[in-house]
């Protein structure tokens, strides 16, 4: 098991993840993620999809892994990375079900996802984590190393291997259909608009 609950009620999640790990996570759970995660956003996903469609190997093995939707700002000399918060996940919706089918277990981003992603999370036992959008400076503190592993020419959009330690996130969508946005917002909604 690479999911355990800390004394503070926050779940410690260590990559790679198994189906049992993902099944134990519920929408609204606060988590600390440690281990290796990979960054990829629009342009990198655009290059991965044709490879998947042709059945060719990907530059990273996504089995059991987590993809973080982010394009970091450049590191100052002596720093591991610059600011590194999440980007809007729905732009990657087109690509996510195919990656989940290959064994990807988690994604980290912000914002709503479409119904096909929700269904793929259920079908392939995946989880969608949220990191706080716009908190890129704070989040950079949890990144211990960053190495470009593919598509260096894409600059900030290259695929990076990040080693993270206690990276704070929350479960937005779980593999059981749970949705933190729906649950959280209905408590405070006082008007339909």
């Amino acid at each position: 098991m690479s999911v355990s609950t800390g004394a503070d009620g926050i779940k410690d999640v260590v990559t790679p993840l198994s189906d049992a790990d993902v099944t134990s996570l519920k929408a609204g759970d606060r988590v600390r993620i440690s281990g290796v995660i990979y960054t990829a956003r629009d342009a990198a996903h655009g290059r991965l999809l044709p490879l998947i469609e042709k059945g060719e190997p990907l530059p990273i093995d996504v089995k059991g892994q987590i993809i973080y939707y982010t394009g970091p700002s450049p590191a100052r000399p002596g720093s591991v990375i610059g600011s590194v918060g999440p980007t809007t996940a729905s732009r990657m919706d087109k690509f996510t079900p195919a990656l989940l089918a290959l064994g990807l277990k988690g994604t980290i981003g912000k914002g709503y996802r479409g119904q096909p992603v929700k269904e793929a999370l259920r079908q392939h036992t995946g989880v969608y984590f949220g990191a706080i959008g716009g908190a890129g400076a704070v989040l950079s503190e949890f990144v211990k190393s960053a190495t470009v592993v593919a598509y260096e020419d894409l600059g900030t959009e290259a695929i990076r291997r990040l080693e993270v330690d206690g990276f704070p996130a929350i479960v937005l969508y779980d593999c059981h259909g749970g949705d933190l946005y729906q649950d959280g917002q209905k408590v405070y909604a006082r008007e339909d608009g």
Binding site: S83, G136, T156, Y181
Partner: protein, 280 residues
């Protein structure tokens, strides 16, 4: 004629780019504090607390508040008694952006064409709006505008019959559809009237007013307050995790329009509201 050399403009823009990305303006910091006093949601409070820490860390370590360091938007008020010397005004602004982003370790987020999508590598060019005004000064109002929230900005052409209720419903609908994608708490710039493009430009310009300050037009001020209250009853909350603070402020600018038209543009701005200005 007062002469302003392009190097002074480039230097000023460079500094504005770096400062805007590292240090949120006091109006934003006050907005976090006000919201922490009223937010009922524990998750929402936690988000606001982390965002305040984020602002402090960005300022002290001189790293960007958000990794999306934005597209630079400049509203320039060029006094008609100013003579820009040594080169072109637009080139000087872009030179400042280039140096600010490269030397400030800010992200290059601009592609040279919407079709081939090759990154320009230095965050140029900026989007520049110039107004010629009386006087002998040159004022630059600069914003580093994030893409995630910009993507949720909207425009509609209402009929005059749709009237004020139509405008109100559209603005609230924009907050709803922006949801967590645009990184709430949001700030809305609303442009009403003019033409298709005038409304859009007004919606951007409206964002430069100090957050929390009243609209100088009392009718618009009342409308802003009403819309803000409605937006904050939606329950979206900080980051969309649920709560009372969905928007920090709604700023409206209006302009005369054609008898057939009621244009409404809404620019959605995230809590990384990075705006600075300088007068040369």
């Amino acid at each position: 004629m007062r002469e302003v050399h392009v190097s002074a403009i480039a230097d000023a823009v460079k500094k504005l780019c770096m400062d805007a990305n590292w240090s949120l303006e006091p109006d934003m910091l006050r907005a976090f504090d006000r919201a922490l006093g009223t937010e009922r949601s524990a998750a929402g409070k936690q988000v606001l607390t982390i965002l305040k820490q984020n602002a402090e860390m960005a300022r002290t370590r001189r790293i960007p508040y958000c990794q999306d360091t934005g597209m630079v938007i400049c509203f320039v008020e060029l006094g008609q008694d100013v003579h820009v010397t040594g080169g072109a005004l637009y080139d000087a602004i872009n030179e400042g952006v280039r140096h600010g982003y490269q030397e400030g370790y800010l992200r290059a987020s601009i592609v040279r064409s919407p079709f081939d999508r090759v990154n320009t590598g230095d965050n140029t060019p900026a989007v520049i709006h110039v107004d010629v005004v009386p006087g002998a000064t040159l004022k630059i109002m600069l914003m580093a505008k994030g893409g995630g929230c910009e993507n949720r900005s909207k425009y509609t052409m209402l009929t005059p019959a749709a009237g004020l209720p139509g405008v109100k419903d559209f603005v609230v609908e924009c907050v709803k559809t922006a949801g967590p994608d645009a990184c709430p708490p949001l700030i809305l710039g609303v442009g009403v009237g003019g033409t298709f493009e005038k409304a859009a430009i007004l919606s951007k310009k409206a964002l430069f007013r100090e957050l929390g300050s009243p609209n100088p037009d009392s009718t618009l001020d009342a409308l802003e307050r009403e819309l803000l209250a409605r937006a904050n009853r939606l329950g979206i909350g900080p980051q969309g995790y649920g709560g009372d603070t969905t928007s920090f402020g709604i700023h409206i600018l209006s302009y005369p329009c054609h008898i057939t038209s009621l244009p409404v543009a809404v620019t959605i701005e995230c809590h990384a509201h990075r705006h600075k200005e300088v007068t040369l």
